[in-house]
Amino acid sequence: MAYVPLADRDHEMELHHPHTWIGKWVFCQDHKVIAIQYGSIAIFTGLVGLVLSLLFRMQLGFPETADFIDPSFYYQAVTMHGMIMVIYLLTALFLGGFGNYLIPLMCGARDMVFPFMNMLSVWVFLVSVIILMASFFVTGGPTGGGWTLYPPQTTLAGTPGHDMGIVLMLISLAVFIVATTMGGLNYVVTVLQYRCRGLTLMRLPLAVWGIFVATILALFAFPALLVAAIMMLFDLLLGTSFFMPAIIESGTPLDHNGGSPILFQHLFWFFGHPEVYIVALPAFGLVSDVLSVHARKNIFGYRMMVWAIIAIGGLSFVVWAHHMYVSGMHPYFGFFFATTTLIIAVPTAIKVYNWILTLWEGDIRLNAPMYFAIGFIFTFIHGGLTGLFLGNVVIDLPLSDTYFVVAHFHMVMGVSPVLVVFAAIYHWYPKMSGRMYHEGMAKLHFWCTFLGTYAIYLPMHYLGFLGVPRRYYALGSTDFLPASAQDLNTTITIAALFVGASQLLFLINIIWSLRSGPKAGPNPWGAASLEWQTPDTPPVHGNWGDSLPTVYRWAYDYSVPGAHQDFIPQNTPESEEPTVDAEHFDPDTDGSKADV
């Protein structure tokens, strides 16, 4: 691909304008098409993950009603559900989907810096998904070792998918990492080097900040997973012993000795914990923008929000072993990792307070994206608080590997980011498609999802305190579990089936509105950030028509006293409208109080 010198950005970027249908919609270098391709693949894969979760919930809620769900299938469904949701849905959707769509538009750029590599990224991602899906069709089926893939369990004969399934999973992950790296380099460099005139880093919308820092985390955390995958592939295919100690299986010693299973756990969680924030930070950023726009108020404490994102990103690299308290590590390590883990609560709490204070005295418009955004604040506080429980060694030890952990991470990195995904899709849908979604259906979708997920995960906390272990095929009869635990499991399954079915509302809404939704206009929410100021809706290839925009203010000038309307687009000069961005902030004329 051509190297384009852009030291002086007044030179226009060279864009490849295709003329064929395939060039425009299949092998396309336009970041918006790539974003929709990324998003569609991710959502399709996510639906597979959703169906898998409903299947294994069926087994837990109604044991022995569906006889094709045997223990092997159950473990395979649990494993694939976890991996699909964390990596192939959320990571791909936030970075590949929203990152691709929003970064160039919010930065006032015509495209990513390296559109060709961006296109390669989505196709390599598709290859990784195909490899992943292929594991359903090979001998032995997909791996059933749990999404953490801990050796030696995943590689031993008792585990389903120990032959081909795990190999395909590891190859698929390695290919996914290549795709993420190609995309991620583009996102980071576009934010750093490709902003339009007047757009300083401290004027970027928080959505860009969240995706930007998350992408840096991805670039530095995925290498650990890549190395772990390569080492385990060597163990599986070449018979090396990186992760395999001497093991006697059914009376026969295996050909391995001297490896360290704990090494895999360290490598996996050195990736795995930043991965939580690779998913969470874009969600933080996107939800900040949605809250601010629909509350008609500037985001509270913009600078602190940015620094909190950076602090969380940095801290996320020094907390990984809090996933390993039960692995038998030295108590001093536990002390260190518990301390760093609890310190993360500080910048996270800053963000939560600032979201709530953004709502304070705002002129709140309860549109569907706002429903989801406020719902996110609830679920995130909830999941964050249980995180404080699990961050402490002494509380974690009895709760480890129980449903309490399942409930915690589903609230904090399952439900919360997914609510933001919905908020963001509804919020930017008018820009992406040019049409409005159906508001009533979207709100119904919210209530079903929000209340439904609480019905699923609140009882799980209680099950966890009872001591119900996670990942068990069936509870059976034990002394320490009351029979009512099974009743609760049945209730959870019914709620899960309900939530799963209600996602059809979302799909129908999105697909139906593509053709039949009312025309949205260029800026239906009255949003100030740059992506709503494009000359065309949806934006065309090149985004900005004849000349790039110039930015004069931050992205949060809402309800500014003395302004002509209740928002001031970022590209409105100071001469036309008053300025109250962070750099000229005067507390006496606080833009948040619209007392004109």
Binding site: L185, T200, P223, T240, N257
Partner: protein
């Protein structure tokens, strides 16, 4: 590093750069992208080396004596690590020719740039060739395999083939990348665009050399 057009030095200049509109570094995007990629790649090699050190501690058998295994005899007594020394010398020399190529690139001396990049690629190819020779010697003559070897801990072979193989892939990719850049330099592709691409390719090449120094120190000397 870059010809900073910012008016300030030191911390103030850094703050000015990061607070500027349009771009945070006064470099073309390709160079910024290569920097970030190399940091990411550093994490990969760091994980490999940490993994190596870890299995070297956990393995139950003694670690094989590297200086004897990697010795080579030219008719007389075997000289320890001689082949590795030559390989390291060649790779570091190639960094020198690469630096010269960058210099001549910025002077728009296309012929010299082309030949210096070709020389760098040739050094790189000979490095890979010697690595192939070393692998052959270990596999065929000494019976070292990824899953075991006659000298001691089986992890020795595992780590050796994995780490040097991954580095060898980097060198091979670098050779192809350099040949591609050299070809385009000769064709005059960069006459209008500028010759930063030579420096960007050079960054990658120096990085691969630097990684080798660490592999050399951690694996052959430690």
């Amino acid at each position: 590093m870059s010809e900073a057009t910012a008016s300030h030095e030191g911390i103030t200049g850094l703050v000015d750069d990061w607070a500027a509109d349009k771009q945070a570094y006064h470099v073309p995007w390709g160079k910024a992208m290569m920097w970030i990629f190399l940091v990411s790649d550093t994490f990969i090699f760091s994980c490999f080396l940490v993994g190596y050190l870890n299995v070297r501690i956990t393995t139950t058998q003694p670690w094989p004596p590297q200086s004897e295994i990697f010795a080579l005899s030219f008719g007389g007594d075997p000289i320890p690590l001689i082949l590795i020394a030559i390989m390291t010398f060649i790779l570091i020399t190639s960094s020198g020719t690469m630096a010269l190529a960058v210099n001549f690139g910025y002077r728009k001396d296309k012929a010299k740039t082309f030949w210096l990049i070709c020389a760098t690629a040739a050094f790189g190819a000979s490095f890979v060739g010697m690595q192939a020779f070393e692998w052959t010697k270990l596999i065929v003559d000494e019976g070292v395999r990824p899953w075991g070897n006659p000298f001691g801990a089986p992890q020795f072979g595992s780590v050796f083939f994995m780490v040097t193989g991954f580095h060898g892939l980097h060198v091979s990719a670098g050779v192809i990348y350099l040949m591609w850049v050299a070809f385009r330099v000769k064709r005059g592709y960069y006459d209008d665009k500028g010759f930063e691409i030579v420096e960007i390719a050079g960054l990658y090449w120096h990085f691969v050399d630097l990684v080798w120094v660490f592999i050399f120190a951690f694996f052959y000397l430690l």
